[in-house]
Symmetry: C2
């Protein structure tokens, strides 16, 4: 392979990893800020938005440049288009960390509702998915990527549980409404972080295996063929 | 230009328009189902998820195929990569319409809180943005695309207003908690639909003008250059 092109792909890879690290840290700082009631950490998350956005645009422009100038084939093409998509997913995960930090700043102005148990558990799961999706990307590990996608249901059902529990709190004691609504939003944001991790998992599978698994597309296509 | 390639680009364009129409209808059915308290319309939204997902994967695979086989340059390359991105944005907007329909099904089981005013207004704004973003895509209209991006703030501030009003309702009358939380979620979903319309607007500007405007990137880069 052209050595210069190889270096360019390597540099794209490194940009994505730098972005991934910033996003992982943002998520983890945002959750820690909430659980430790530490506002400085929430502030820290906000300072990362700019650098993440800058990398998002850099990755995007670099992918466009490589597509235009190198006219890549097969696995290089799949790597570059996966890179574009993973960049967007990471940027959105970074936004969600900012959203969690913003809700947290409001929540820290009032006394806590109760010790948080399920939200940190959701956060652990979502962060674990994000971490593994990116490891799957780095190691081109299709098996790990598939495993990440399977974990999404667990986060969804934990979020439903958190949601129902917080509704009950509010109904029993309306003084908790403000805090409970804030925590419901945090739950949603974590659920969406897990969704983006799943999307990255799907992108990795496509990149490695050239197969689309999103939307359980094979079943949908078979069903569509039957009704035709 | 190669006539066959021209036809392929035309067919990609048509797929995106078909997808856009389905998504627009989904959003509008979901909101109508809520305002008219008509469950059949919510059900109708759910039946559109499959066809939208199918088109999403079709668009994606077609873009990959064109990138691999046609090795497009300049404006064709920008059209194809914008198509990939716009396809994802549309698919997410379709998901949000499904989310609104799901919340609506729950809300229709209990009496309404009050006549809805701000949520239909938000819905009109978000739908208008989606429609115009797609018109901008069809007509390659950079000016309209920029205008769509500017309207996002209006939806955000309307959503903040809806959120605060619903919090007040809940605090004054805890019996409204269930409905109010549902409406808060609908507000969020509409806000995110507007965000995706904004993303499409940004993709159109990039496609037409080759310029990235997302994240106000020019200001960020100038600021980054100053601190270096």
């Amino acid at each position: 392979m052209d050595r210069h092109f190889d270096e360019e792909l390597q540099s794209l890879n490194e940009k994505l990893l730098r972005m991934a690290r910033l996003v992982e840290e943002s998520i983890s700082l945002a959750v820690k800020s909430l659980t430790d009631r530490n506002e400085a950490l929430a502030q820290e998350v906000l300072t990362r938005e700019g650098p993440i956005n800058l990398l998002d645009v850099d990755v995007d422009e670099e992918c466009m440049r490589l597509l235009a100038l190198r006219q890549p084939m097969a696995s290089d093409l799949r790597f570059i288009t996966a890179g574009m998509k993973i960049g967007s997913e990471l940027e959105r995960m970074g936004d969600l960390a900012v959203n969690i930090a913003e809700v947290t700043e409001d929540l820290l102005r009032v006394p806590p509702l109760k010790p948080l148990i399920d939200i940190p558990r959701m956060a652990d799961l979502a962060q674990g998915m994000a971490k593994d999706a990116l490891t799957a990307f780095i190691k081109r590990d299709e098996k790990l990527a598939r495993e990440v996608c399977l974990r999404d249901d667990e986060v969804d059902s934990l979020n439903d549980q958190v949601f129902r529990e917080l509704l009950t709190y509010m109904m029993e004691d309306p003084a908790t409404i403000n805090v409970a609504v804030g925590l419901i939003l945090v739950g949603r944001h974590l659920e969406r972080i897990a969704d983006h991790a799943t999307n990255i998992g799907e992108d990795v599978i496509f990149m490695v295996a050239g197969k689309t698994i999103k939307h359980h597309i094979e079943e949908i296509r078979r069903a569509a063929a039957r009704t035709e």
